[in-house]
Amino acid sequence: MTILLATVMTYLFYRLTKQLNKKITFPLFHPLLLTPILIILVITLFNIPAAKYMDGAAFLTHMLGPATIAFAIPIYKHLALLKKHLSLIMISITAGSLIAIFTSYGLSMLLHIDRNFLISVLPRSITTPIAMEISKDIGGLPTLTTVFVIITGIVGGVMGPAVIKRFAITSPIAQGLALGMSAHGVGTNKAMDYGEQATTFSTLAMILAATITIVLGKFLIPTLVAFI
């Protein structure tokens, strides 16, 4: 599949679902859920292997790099805010990272999830590139981890607004930290609906969660894995 065709098709479907999502706020119309489904339908219909499509759309995946770098801007713009709430951020995200690992581990152990799946799901709450590195380190399958990270993003993006509304989370700090901690980049993208402050805190949560999980990947996670 040519680069142009794959990129243009992805972009058009994405625009379409985004527009649809604006008009009909139904959680399952989330662009990260509906667009891949439409693309999978099309490539299945035309007998195109998923790997061929992904090669064609590699340019879009590449843009994740610059997009991650772009998040330096909200942090820079709200540096004073970050300094003021440093301990709040540190405590919330350390707790959040531990909760992410322990609940994933505990529930998987409870349901006797297969070893490869279990190890690969542990770093699921952080941004894809770092999750892959950690997965490799702890003996998981990095590609499987990517799938779990994406599922986490979709689930978090869909459930985020409902959780924020249901539990009446009104502070942009708490909104941002919760979204960035639980749904990495996808959560941070959602945080943009709640204003620039929420976006900043979400970005910080995403970066800090990744950093903390790197450290936990060296000490805590190997111990947990030893018990499987």
Binding site: P66, T68, A70, K83, I99, V155
Partner: protein
């Protein structure tokens, strides 16, 4: 031209990506290049080497369209037949429950600390 500005600024942001890739290779930094690039751009802004208006429009576009860049990887899920098994269903449920707990508890903890007004400077 708005689109022109965005494209030029995205190309400029790529400089930080390339610099990050070089640094990562050179010093064997165990972080992804994109995170190293984020730190580099942040430092460049703080040290006033780069002005905010040089990158802001491009960066805003990248951040707003972030989901687009995840889509090809999401399509890759079809390569995992295991997902379409009982194990796969269970793991999706686990991820759902775990994400819900992480999201709500993080929000509660942050909210609680903020209301208590604990600030250790």
């Amino acid at each position: 031209m708005r689109i022109g500005t965005i494209i030029v600024q995205i190309l400029f942001i790529h400089l930080f990506l390339f610099l990050a890739i070089a640094l990562k290779q050179l010093f064997a930094i165990p972080l992804p290049a994109s995170i190293i690039g984020l730190v580099l751009l942040f430092l460049a802004l703080v040290l006033k080497i780069v002005k905010l208006e040089w990158v802001e429009k491009g960066a805003n576009w990248l951040m707003a369209e972030l989901l687009l860049f995840f889509i090809p990887s999401a399509v890759g899920i079809v390569n995992y037949n295991e997902i379409a098994s009982w194990q796969g269903v269970q793991i999706v449920i686990i991820i759902g429950i775990s994400t819900f707990i992480v999201m709500s508890l993080t929000a509660f903890i942050a909210d609680w600390i903020e209301k208590k007004g604990v600030h250790v400077e």
